[in-house]
Symmetry: C2
Subunit: 383 residues, 2 copies
């Protein structure tokens, strides 16, 4: 039995508080900065445009010379230069007359509309001034942002390093994926793979170790050798059985802060630290591990990675009643059918096919005892 079960909200807060945004930075070529976070305000080295740039095809003119021009009283110019969009407006001119408003007759340009100074011209620095801050520290770079950096002639920028997350799958029954066929009592190691794929999706770097057998010494060694990670995730052996060593090893090697959380599935979850490194012990049951990854690990990783942790939510109607245990946060797999959430009625945390059928999940808060059919709920898709 767990000595003390921690509330899900409290557990979540504790883990997030243990995790600090990573301060390490790295210089990266801009084309590799997609979805990376700026670690130092980026200052423009140049004006953009760096010259007075025509915004239309037409003729460069001196705007003062067009004063009073109209279709009934056109103005005739000798001093002009043909120009195309994007070209530099030559010295001595300050505006561009559009093709449509002008007629070229030999060496004379007939203009039917007055133009103001800078008309159809993007002036030097109009978009960005030299020394302007283009992106502040903390900004996540999207494709058009990278395109803007490129237009400033920047080759590389400083970004926060991705948090390094050590993933340690444990269990003497585990066999590396498809390494050989299985004997009864064996299983392929799959939780580590799932955790790795999510860790990478969520903006971090996964360092997955080999499978560690159920042996406290070996678990301790694996934890010790992962201490330069920003977080250690140990999977399996987190309950209170004879061979559930992970939480005890954590208690000996560092601090065990929480063991047992009021969440369904996912009760056998533990959090702690080794020196300053947060350690998460995830249950070996895959559905429970998945639920923990979303409830606890995701917000913690996003914080470390300087990323927004909001997960899209869609408000949908619940097709059938969900039962849940009051005092526990329940993570319920649902399939979306025609915009209605159909709970997947499988209780076993070992039943992976239930996730394959689910489009996402609904969270039942701890103060509720289930949710009635027909109620509106917040659906979150599995990424």
């Amino acid at each position: 039995m767990f000595k003390h079960l921690c509330g899900a909200k409290e557990a979540r807060k504790l883990l997030i508080d243990l995790c600090a945004p990573v301060r390490r930075t790295e210089m990266l070529p801009i084309a590799e900065c997609i979805d990376r976070v700026v670690s130092k305000d980026i200052v423009s080295p140049v004006d953009l445009p760096s010259f007075n740039r025509a915004a239309m095809d037409g003729f460069s003119v001196r705007s003062a010379n067009t004063r009073g021009a109209s279709s009934s009283a056109p103005v005739y110019l000798q001093n002009f230069a043909p120009i195309r969009t994007g070209m530099a407006v030559p010295e001595g001119f300050d505006a561009v007359v559009m093709m449509e408003d002008s007629v070229l007759r030999g060496s004379t340009l007939e203009i039917a509309a007055e133009v103001h100074p800078h008309r159809n011209v993007s002036c030097i620095g109009e978009d960005i001034h030299s020394e302007d801050i283009v992106f502040k520290e903390g900004h996540r770079l999207r494709p058009p942002d990278i395109s803007l950096l490129a237009s400033l002639g920047l080759r590389e920028i400083m970004a926060y390093a991705r948090p390094k997350i050590a993933i340690i799958p444990t269990g003497s029954e585990l066999v590396p994926v498809a390494a050989r066929s299985l004997e009864p009592g064996e299983a392929y190691e799959t939780n580590g793979l799932m955790a790795k794929l999510y860790v990478e999706k969520w903006g971090c770097k996964a360092l997955k170790s080999d499978i560690v057998p159920d042996d406290p010494m070996k678990i301790r060694q694996a934890m010790d050798s992962a201490q330069d990670a920003d977080m250690i995730i140990i999977i399996g052996g987190t309950s209170v059985g004879e061979k559930d060593y992970a939480p005890n090893v954590l208690a000996e090697a560092g601090k065990l802060l929480i063991h047992g959380v009021r969440v369904q599935p996912g009760k056998p979850t533990a959090f702690g630290t080794i020196r300053a490194t947060p350690v998460v012990c995830l249950p070996g049951y895959p559905v429970a591990a998945l639920s923990d990854l979303y409830l606890f690990v995701r917000p913690a990783l996003k914080k470390m990675a300087h990323l927004n942790d909001s997960l899209p939510k869609i408000t949908v109607r619940l097709a059938r009643k969900i039962a849940s245990r009051p005092g526990y946060v329940s993570v319920v797999r649902v399939a979306l059918r025609d915009g209605v959430a159909e709970p997947i009625m499988v209780s076993g945390a070992g039943i992976m096919s239930s996730v394959a059928k689910a489009d996402g999940f609904v969270i039942v808060p701890e103060e509720r005892e289930g949710i009635e059919a027909g109620e509106m709920v917040e659906f979150r898709p599995f990424e």
Copy 2:
């Protein structure tokens, strides 16, 4: 002037209709299948579990022998075997009694609760039966799905190939990013980079060509050499100026179906085909190119990639009035501040810093003439 302006909805439909879901497939190691789409129903080669698996720590028993057991009238067994979660229930036993309901006294097990057959046992095939379809054609693989494939011992699976998208940046004024410093009238090529990053984000493979100068022959060559792509995106030279060659080249090399779309920004947009390959001509103004990428290219690419094209939408209040031209679809950059959408009041399609400041965009439909301050609008984040 454009001869005929096409409505934005009609243009979007035309482009999407030109694009077919890619039928090419490839065999991929499962760990590389993240976000890839299954091209052929995946059938399980095994039962999962492949043996009767203990779901609890405790003792394997023959359920019939526990009949009538209760705390006041316990049953004593000689025939049992200790077992841990995940282990195979030995031959001759059909249930597991939990630790908590039993006391081991020497070689005798005292049981305080009757167990039914299969109690605390995951039976062979309970999760997945051999020959079950695990994932249907068309399913996008998420981390837990890949974990499920791994648990079935599958090493690799067949997925649809990613659509190949040729990206051809054109413009005699363009210089490769940071290749050298710029002369007046020159600019770094950045739209191709932006398009490439989005194409990859949207599940496709980008094949970016070198910069092509404003020369119809060279544009034609670039189009011809890109014909094994699933879509050709040409950027720049798409308006009706003297040097806007792309649409005419397309008309000669294949079919020009649309030239000029009622969208702001993005009017100088053209769609067509070369043989069966859809061709998109995007304006060279970066904000217009971005707007076209979202309005037209994204849904077309998602269709080709067998992916859902829904973009998260958040309903928010508009801080200030948006002006728009009736008959035109307007794509308005907005910043979100405290959940309120603040339009970024920059009209120039050349002003890239306006995108840097924007969190996403709001679409004003063609039947509207602007949107009043305070109205609720659908905000879409820039990915």
